[in-house]
Amino acid sequence: MTITPSHIIQYLYCPRFTFFEYVLAIPQYEEKNYKVIRGRDLHNEKLEQNKQYLRKKIGVKEKHLDQYLTNGLLRGKVDEVLLLEDGTMSPLDYKFAEYKDKIYDTYKTQLYCYAWLIEENFGKKVKKGFIVYTRSKHKLIEVEVTESDLDKIKKCALEIQLIIDNNFFPKATKYKKRCLDCTYKNICIK
């Protein structure tokens, strides 16, 4: 089984999510959230206005849309893969969200995953990624991608693999607050 950025985000929240969902096959309760549905439609609305703007603002030489990439461990769909003028590449992800002066870790994690996939598939370095917040007038935010960020993601992917392949029961997250409204709190051993 190959994993996706969502798996990594869940694992970082609490490793036991991976265990309950993919070893014991107990699904999470996820309600059909209106905003999530709107976000899915977003990718179908091709954003013409962004093209020229991107070329000027960040110096894009080429762009590849909707790239479904995979390596041995991870798979994911990148909204846009950009080739920049300095020969590096960058993932760009559209978010149906407002920018509120901070970038959530989940968004960063997603970009790091894409960065890893791009490096392996296109054979180019990735130094930064971009997020477009469609509900804040398409505000463009740059996120730096470092080697250590990628190493963390790679380590996570291997640990997730270990849990799934060996039925390994991991330690829960150290943040006790997360247990309060966890979907698995009734079956999770403290």
Binding site: N33, Y34, K35, R38
Partner: protein, 96 residues
């Protein structure tokens, strides 16, 4: 937060849908096109996006106001008005 939703929507179908969305968000219908109740910021955001989808922006209007409990206490209500305790969910049961 206590939230007011007021609208003028011309199209019957869209107006019915808007009322339904407000009720689904847990608001009380205090007048035909005025809703009031307590929602958190995420619920309010979702509702405003849903209403935005329903309306014709060239002719309809929707107002969404928020208000504190104190401000609602200071409001004067005349005639066949709603029960302040009811819309702020202070009354949990209507009969015993």
């Amino acid at each position: 937060m206590i939230t007011w939703v007021l609208y003028d929507i011309k199209n019957d179908k869209a107006r019915t849908k808007a009322a339904k969305l407000c009720k689904q968000a847990g608001l009380y219908r205090v007048q035909y096109s005025v809703f009031l109740g307590t929602v958190d910021s995420h619920e309010k955001d979702t509702l405003s996006l849903q209403l935005e989808e329903q309306i014709d922006e060239s002719q309809d209007k929707v107002y969404i106001f928020t208000m504190s409990k104190n401000e609602l206490k200071n409001a004067s209500l005349l005639g066949q008005a709603f029960d302040k305790k009811m819309v702020t969910d202070e009354i949990r049961a209507l009969f015993f």
